[in-house]
């Protein structure tokens, strides 16, 4: 005795329909809500980098503005020559909130054997992409990093236990670990912003402390128009205008993280 394939499939189909009906009965609308994309409301911050305006000089200015404001230590050129590090340690300890790199490193997967002449020597300004689907948030065991409703991938340094899962998770190398007390390596400490301690991970927070005061991020302000900042959910915001007017690329979009820093090349 048993049940033949045809009856089994019929029964399974019926059960499936019943399951949907049961879901509708218990949790009306939940199934659709889980499947559908959430409506774009409120604020969603994003940055557009206009590489036509971004010279190395402008990039250096942006980096300086950010790193001096947020007390980011400089392991490459320590303020005290006695603290100079070996090349190996420089690389390992370097703290990056915003930095530059070449096309082949920044846009892995976009390389081709014969490329556009202008890409030669072009240094792209890189920062945390404040992904819509941030892998760093998913792997954090303490929820020290989390996604704010306005899209900023935020760090709660108080909760960070320094496990560095997020660094392994981030495909953009936007996170750095404090291998040592950073204070001796900060040339001029900004007393209005905390430093970090040994053993925590840090990254770009899109100047959330400046946004709270209605200011633009420090790098955007220092860029003189090369960086465009705004609300993606607002039809007439500068970022939306830039995205409408230009073809833009993003870093490693094929990974599904949905990065929100766009590049006009």
């Amino acid at each position: 005795m048993g049940i033949n394939r045809r009856d089994f499939l019929k029964l399974a189909g019926l059960l499936g329909l019943g399951g949907k009906a049961a879901f509708e009965l218990v949790l009306p609308g939940e199934v659709e809500a889980a499947v559908a994309r959430t409506e774009a409301t409120g604020t969603r911050w994003a940055v557009v980098v206009d590489m036509r305006k971004l010279t190395d000089k402008v990039a250096a200015r942006c980096i300086e503005a950010c790193h001096s404001l947020h007390n980011v230590p400089n392991y490459l050129e320590p303020p005290d020559p006695k603290l100079a590090l070996s090349e190996d340690l420089k690389n390992r300890w370097q703290i990056k909130w915003i930095w530059t790199d070449v096309y082949e490193h920044a846009f892995v997967g976009f390389e081709q054997d014969h490329k556009w002449d202008k890409l030669q020597g072009m240094n792209f300004l890189l920062l945390c992409n404040h992904c819509d689907n941030p892998p760093c948030v998913r792997v954090c065991p303490t929820q020290a990093t989390y996604r704010r409703p306005d899209g900023i991938v935020m760090m709660d340094m108080h909760r960070c236990i320094g496990c560095r899962f997020c660094m392994a998770g981030c495909p953009y190398a936007a996170r750095s670990f404090n291998w040592r007390d950073p204070r001796p390596y900060i040339a001029k400490i900004n007393p209005n912003y905390p430093t970090r301690e040994i053993g925590v991970v840090e990254k770009c927070l899109l100047c959330e402390e400046r946004l709270a005061q209605g200011q633009q991020p420090a790098c955007v302000e220092a860029s003189g128009g090369a960086l465009i900042f705004g609300n993606l959910n607002e039809e007439n915001s500068p970022v939306r205008a830039a995205l409408r007017a230009h073809y833009t690329i993003r870093r490693k979009p094929y990974l599904g993280t949905n990065p929100q820093v766009y590049y006009i090349v």
Partner: protein, 159 residues
């Protein structure tokens, strides 16, 4: 009748063991070392009088205020007992919800920030915070990241 048989035979009395401290010398030496090591803090501090901490309120920012306005965000007594909890709550509120202002029990809105509000008035960490913290031997880890701003004030006063 429970012990009608034990390992020494039928109704045999259990052999008694003499109760005494074996190797009394070694035990006494060990006990002595133990007492000295664990009693050292007590012995060393015996008879010493530690003055009750007097956190100083003498900072330029507080002096500038009128006598009536010299009031922390909450009453002094409450702050003395609960400032640590308040700072924890501020930390959660500011970092996790993004709400940067705290409404006091008097209905006043103040910036919820250790470095940028508390330390503006109490710009004398070593004379204010550290006084009690050292007295009760607690080491808050705030200062690993947040800056007390004390040096700047000292420099400004020197000029």
């Amino acid at each position: 009748m429970a012990d009608y048989k034990n390992e020494f035979g039928w109704f045999a009395p259990k052999p008694t063991v003499e109760k005494k401290i074996y190797s009394l010398k070694a035990v006494a030496v060990g006990l002595g070392i133990f007492l000295v090591v664990f009693g050292a803090p007590l012995l060393l501090n015996m008879g010493q009088v530690h003055p009750v901490p007097q956190p100083s309120l003498d900072t330029p920012a507080i002096q500038k205020l009128a006598e009536k306005e010299r009031q922390c965000v909450e009453p002094t007594e409450w702050m003395r007992a609960n400032h640590m909890q308040l700072l924890w709550d501020w930390r959660e509120q500011v970092v996790r919800t993004g709400e940067r202002y705290y409404t006091t029990s008097q209905g006043k809105k103040v910036l919820a920030s250790l470095s940028n509000n508390c330390m503006e008035c109490h710009s004398n960490k070593s004379q204010f915070c550290d006084q009690c913290h050292n007295y009760v031997a607690v080491a808050p880890n705030c200062w690993g990241c947040h800056l007390p701003k004390e040096q700047n004030v000292a420099k400004a006063e020197g000029k």
